[in-house]
Symmetry: C2
Subunit: 597 residues, 2 copies
């Protein structure tokens, strides 16, 4: 057992080639055991065992600095840098990150989790190194999938000329496992294939074109060959690209057969068969994205002008792409291009529906603002998985409301239930301006109502579900469910409140809000997003600016704290943010009591 | 005179080769005359005269669709498509755009102005075309400078495989004039040079690598050769890159000598000498960016760890780069890379100062959020030219406050005057967290105070300049000047107001705000940015949520409307938004009168 002896990269350097090979086998077994219990990025990590062992064998971390793009593939790095005990890496995502974290180890230089940034960050480190006249090696490890993101190219372009003819000690390892999260796409994907198939010799080498030295490493899962290649890198002065061919899911037959399925799993599985061991869910929730997929498929069947645009995440499943081949475009991890491309599609008169995970819209703000909103082209953007979520801090989904809702011409809506989501898809399909539909990840099916029970959608109008007095509760999107709970509890306390589903969060229904001032003294907003700078604060600001100085209407806003929550369970977050109906009711009753005093 | 005969591209098709050459000369003369009077993008447009004439000669716009990247080089296109009368293009930027505009002509398919989007938009049009089974040609014209932006690459990558082996009728024209806005940078810049110098034959062709057919056109300023090349494009099935070598400023000796200087000018000049004819300025204003440049230069001289990072705009002038070669990095038009690179530099222990034009931070939100703010790396980002501004709608600078101020860990400040700006640079230099310094374009020098008269900067504390009662005026950044005017006028009306310079806009000084509630009934906020979702509304929301239900404190917020203002003069915008002290005073007096009734 060699793994037991490794508590830092230095321990690695004591092993010989044979022992390193055995170590790799142990690590792969250890990884698979861990991931089979707790989930994780199965394929990516099994693929980089040898490469990571070789990196830590040849280089001298943390003096030499390795930056893993996204760092979803950094489990092996974690194991080799003192984080192998107690299944630290996978066991409890509420307690421990799976990505690189500065506070975990001196071998982690950044808190990472989003794609295509590693070359920027590594070249920044190299600039710092050079200004202080140091000379250690700086390394970025980036997957072929992440190379579809524009920032990777911006950094490739710049780092190529950064070292000004001096010895660079700068290496970019392209970890080419032939897949993105989903299937690889685009011209570069084909180019990497051509390089692989020619053992790195095919012409028009894009890396050489940009000014890099280039080495092809066919056997990226052979630790000896990895070591030899990395040792050879010292001979190069110019920045160097090592194109390493690895196999996603190496050493695990089922992961190798279906790499998209095994990119990342969140439930336990059998290590021999790959069969999922479904954990009984505590509440009956459905994924909104899945709910919409079936309906979008119907829409696409009826109207060939419906074009679905995806950005690397296979949210509609492969069935959709197979059924509607001409009507489905996956641009890869390239959200900026996805949004502008959609603007072009809409301008031509077709009807694009772009599916982007809520947090990833952070990559396409400029394109929303200019190419879509200024141009008023009627694309529909569906942000799925937005809001408070058990996720890595780099993926925390609470910021998109203030990020987007100040954009002119952009209409943003959020449904309270599945049926209303379908209504919003229908509504958005008809509009001649861009529409954002914001979905949370899970959706409580018990909230659902038949279509006949839901008022038709009217632009920028709130849906007043129940008209009472004294207190108005406005719950946006999925958190309308909390608003109902609050209203029902208050009724039991003898307070007959007004209950509102606002639907729209890009502008206020000032008419409805103004009327509330007549016979209400308190307005309560509940949103599934950051409270500060959020949607509820705009309603609060509306009342603070209202005409009558003698008004005494107060607003209570509920939402997430302005923070990056890191793998905190959903229920714990609701507790932290006081997004529980009992807490909210208590606060409301206090306010009313004060007002009556 | 051929130009007189051209009112649409069809008229062009009646001319023979000799006549087209003469037309090009006329257009160049016409352009230079116009630009010499009204300013404009001199070099870029002089460079594309022949290429644009050839495009409209060979193709059939608007059926065939040409998308110009940025469209700063589309003056010739405008002239040829019915917009040559009365110097429409340049004469009055308040009335007419210099960029492409859908409402001007059926030959303009998008409202454009930002870089690196044309391939995305054009490939979207092509997808629309294909779904409707049409077959016209779609063309993107993109400069070598714009190719440094990541989105251009994302779209190049995708469009390469979009047509699935079918005839694409899709052309990307790389208009290579050897320059970005400033000097060209990066690996691609060198690669294009190698292609030029080898007449397009040098190995490792990056466009071929991605899957494009490729033609090199050395004589991009020879209309006959342009026409022959474009006509030849019909022979290709795969998407095609035409790499056209043009000369920035062709036909104008002084523009050719100093392309960065003549990229864009905003004042009139002599067409023979190129001498600027300085227009007497109405008010004494200085550019904040210039003010800082000298000081940053001193800082860099004292501390070699100070690294200035630029993103394509030569805001500090070339002198800085010459004096501090190792301490100045221009990443080209690649804001995302600039911010992440800065995070890397800061992580290593050096001190990056990133200069980005306010509106362009829209390209780097994700990098601010994750690579900088989540990682808490102490880079300083200076947003210059933010706020209400006479600019193209695509560059309107009012959105950055709501875009950025919700980001955790990011401290945002804005100075009221030059001296305070220098103090903020000093302060930011000392901090161990990321800092944004927000500057407007112009700065009224009369506002300036000596350093001894300005209170030291304290994190998240407002500077209470004058403590009065009844009304508090809080003016952010440059608009503090309006707050002073308002306060002085109110004093003449017998109202002794409180006057506050908030400095920080990323969080509220709740202590100071709470104390105001004791003896004030009205708080007024004035900001140089969008009012809805802006900084003032957060202060309004603070009071609406305050504890006492019996409070009667009202807030008046002043700022820009949620709109894209297009070349509207600054003074007209202030009028439109009621950002004039007399208007504000009137509203305040009304409020007070109501309260006393």
């Amino acid at each position: 057992m060699y793994l037991e002896r490794i508590s830092s990269p230095n321990d690695l350097k004591k092993l010989d080639t044979k022992e390193l090979q055995l170590l790799c086998e142990e690590i792969r077994f250890f990884l698979l055991e861990g991931m089979s219990k707790y989930g994780g990025h199965v394929g990516p990590n099994l693929g980089v065992v040898e490469l990571t062992v070789a990196l830590h064998y040849v280089f001298d971390s943390p003096k030499d600095k390795i930056v893993f793009d996204v760092s979803h593939q950094a489990y092996v790095h974690k194991i080799l840098t003192g984080r192998k005990n107690l299944y630290d890496i996978f066991r409890d995502r509420g307690a421990k990150s799976t990505y690189q974290r500065q506070n975990e180890s001196e071998h982690d230089f950044f808190d990472l989790g989003l794609t295509s940034t590693s070359i920027s960050l590594a070249s920044g480190l190299a600039k710092g190194r050079d200004i202080f006249n140091n000379s250690e090696t700086i390394i970025a490890v980036i997957g072929d999938g992440a190379l579809s993101g524009g920032q990777a190219y911006e950094a490739l372009n710049n780092a190529a000329t950064q070292f000004d003819g001096k010895k660079s000690n700068f290496i970019i390892i392209v970890n080419d496992n032939e897949y993105s999260i989903s299937l690889g796409v685009g011209g570069l994907h084909n180019h990497l294939k051509a390089l692989r198939e020619s053992n790195g010799t095919s012409g028009n080498n894009v890396f050489r074109a940009l000014g890099y030295e280039y080495i092809y490493l066919e056997h990226g899962n052979d630790v000896t060959k990895c070591i030899t290649t990395l040792q050879g890198s010292r001979a190069f002065d110019a920045p160097l690209v090592i194109h390493a061919h690895t196999t996603k899911g190496e050493g695990c037959h089922f992961a190798k057969i279906d790499p998209p399925k095994w990119h990342s799993v969140s439930i336990s599985f059998d290590t021999r068969s790959g069969e999922f061991q479904q954990v009984a869910k505590q509440t009956k929730t459905v994924h909104y994205a899945q709910v919409g997929a079936e309906y979008i498929s119907q829409m696409a069947g009826k109207d060939k002008a419906v074009i679905v645009i995806l950005a690397g995440t296979p949210v509609l499943g492969h069935k959709f792409a197979q059924q509607h081949r001409q009507q489905c475009v996956d641009v890869g991890i390239a959200e900026a291009n996805a949004v502008s491309f959609a603007s072009g599609v809409a301008k031509y008169g077709a009807k694009p529906f772009v599916f982007i995970e809520g947090t990833f819209i952070q990559r396409a703000y400029s394109q929303l603002l200019i190419d879509l909103a200024l141009n008023k082209n009627p694309a529909v953007i569906i942000l799925h998985g937005s809001g408070i979520i058990l996720q890595d801090s780099t993926h925390y989904g609470i910021f998109d409301i203030p990020l987007i809702s100040h954009i002119p011409n952009l209409v943003c809506i959020s449904p309270t239930c599945e049926t209303e989501y379908i209504m919003m898809l229908d509504w958005a399909y008809e509009q001649q301006f861009p529409v954002i539909i914001r979905l949370s990840r899970d959706h409580n099916a018990s909230m659902d109502r038949p279509r006949s029970a839901i008022a038709p959608i009217e632009l920028n109008r709130y849906d007043v579900i129940r008209r009472g007095n004294t207190v108005a509760i406005i719950g946006l999107g999925i958190f309308f469910a909390i608003a109902i709970e609050v209203a029902d509890t208050l009724k039991a306390h003898g307070v007959d409140v007004t209950l509102i589903n606002p639907r729209f969060y890009s502008s206020l229904d000032k008419d409805t809000l103004s009327k509330l001032a007549d016979d209400h003294c308190l307005v309560v907003t509940i949103e599934n997003g950051v409270r500060e700078c959020g949607w509820g604060e705009r309603i609060a600001a509306f009342y603070a600016q209202s005409e009558a100085l003698d008004r005494a209407l107060t607003v209570l806003t509920f939402g997430a704290d302005k923070e990056f929550a890191d793998w905190v369970p959903f229920s714990e977050l609701l507790e932290r943010y006081e997004l529980k109906s009992d807490k909210i009711v208590k606060k409301i009753l206090n306010k009313i009591a004060k007002a009556r005093r």
